[in-house]
Symmetry: C2
Subunit: 310 residues, 2 copies
């Protein structure tokens, strides 16, 4: 019977590594640099070396290792192949084949946002649920869809790319994806700054936000202090995101939405604004979906990666 | 090895029945009335009698029957239980348990719209694909989500209820679901009539649509005849539906959209208007999703039901 598994989260600058027990205890966590030079050809060999080294160091019985899960920043198909991963300087890479050859262990690979969603389901904000939409509010808006405890990858590896759902016709400047009016342009950390600038320009009302640099954090700090203008920004944010999540619920009907990423550090008040509009727009049967904050932070990726091989 | 299966589509007035070979040939189709009196307690016994009678009539070997699939107008959970089905006058009914007891055959049950989607995937507009969003444009807008050849039911049986995605803040009269501005209010047959009335009232432009009753059919007939006002209606319809489908694609990333229901009788021109806006709003990776018309018409339900047990 397996006792261990590895969870790997490959980022653009560092690779997070985790050794887990199969019941989900993180036994050890460490990082190695991501060497993106030469089209990132060293990345997987470096990861393999880190894992093989750890097995040797701890004198682990290979028979008792369930395998290695790997999350990468790019689309990954069901066979564990990546067509391209810009941040890693990768063209087509068959992660599973390459890593299995380098380690002799079973390997599974997935998109990092999807893998993080699985981590939150396993040991984070989504514990106890089986069907989830994860929403990551950072510089952009990421997502991951979990159906019956499994990642939904989609036919182009683009399932859960909820940040690029169209949300506003009035936005005329392009998103990083090339379209205009994406949810990411309105409900991410940068989207909240956009809404703040619009509200600050639209009136001369007094506000804490008129002093210093505006960020998602200063907006929600001001909301907590009762600042009326900041509350108007939070309402607009909540309407864009809550309405979008209600639309997504008509498609996959999840049990729970788990909200993570830097913006989620604002805490439960963030959920209040999202849920208010979610309940307004959701289809009757879906109105009672649960909302929770993510709890694993940057470790969600290694947890989810480990879970993939179990 | 199994040679036969039954596909049953329970509607509010008639039950469609089909006997199929396991490779999907419809060997016989017939109908029986749906007896909704006494809380619909006779419906499943009537269906069982129809099947048992057919087995006797054709002297089929029960060992060679893979089972019975049943689609019903209501939410169905993974165990084949319905909490309520208004059109059948049903409260809670455990279809699978009851039908297995009545027939001694394996039974699977699903929501009728989802089951019809599976039918179109198996033998209709979605042949050759494995991941699909089915859109049924009738009096309302229905849907069904197929992931890896399987129906996605959702945690409340509400996955694929895409007609109730919010699509327009300006609509202030309520949808049948109680919300306002649902996609169904804009892109169904009745939604197209709504758009037509708005366009007819907004100008005095000459149009074929100013004579006689307006319907989805007369609108698309006028579009085909080059009627400018009708084309404006079709553009608005296409924007509402194409944009919504692009949003849905960010969630599940399907290979194909199959469009069925009465409105789809307008033919390929309907797809042109939908795709134009889909391509505009879709996330890069999803822009090349295929579009097809449904081909099975009212038989989609019995085909999909049969497929469920294979």
């Amino acid at each position: 019977m397996s006792k261990y598994c590895f969870g790997i989260d490959v980022g653009g600058t560092t690779v997070k590594c985790g050794l887990f027990s199969t019941d989900g205890e993180a036994l050890e966590k460490w990082e190695i640099p991501t060497r993106t030079e030469d089209n990132g050809k060293n990345i997987l060999p470096d990861v393999a070396q880190a894992i093989n080294g750890k097995i040797q160091e701890r004198d682990l019985d290979k028979e008792k290792i369930a395998g290695i899960g790997i999350g990468v920043p790019g689309p990954v198909n069901d066979e564990g192949e990546v067509p391209v991963a810009v941040n890693l300087h990768w063209g087509r890479v068959h992660i599973v084949n390459e890593m299995e050859a380098l380690t002799g262990l079973k390997v599974k690979a997935g998109n990092d946002a999807n893998v993080a969603a699985l981590g939150e389901l396993w040991k984070g904000g989504g514990v106890g649920y089986h069907n989830m939409i994860m929403v990551t509010l950072g510089t952009g808006v990421g997502g991951g869809i979990i159906i019956n405890d499994k990642i939904l990858a989609g036919s182009h590896g683009a399932a859960g790319e909820i940040g690029h759902a169209h949300a506003e016709d009035a936005v005329k400047d392009p998103c990083n994806c090339g379209n205009c009016g994406c949810l990411e342009q309105l409900a991410s950390a940068t989207g909240i700054v956009r809404l703040a600038k619009e509200e600050l320009a639209a009136s001369t009302d007094a506000s804490m936000l008129r002093e210093g640099e505006v960020s998602a954090k200063t907006v929600f700090d001001a909301v907590k202090a009762g600042d009326d203008l900041a509350i108007r920004i939070a309402e607009r944010f909540g309407k864009y995101l809550g309405e979008a999540l209600a639309i997504f619920a008509c498609v996959v009907d999840p049990e729970v939405f788990v909200i993570g990423g830097g913006v989620s550090k604002a805490g439960p008040i963030l959920l209040d604004y999202i849920q208010k509009y979610y309940r307004e727009y959701a289809f009757t049967a879906c109105k009672d979906a649960a909302f929770a904050l993510a709890t694993l932070g940057n470790d969600a990726g290694i947890f989810g990666a480990a879970k993939m091989v179990l």
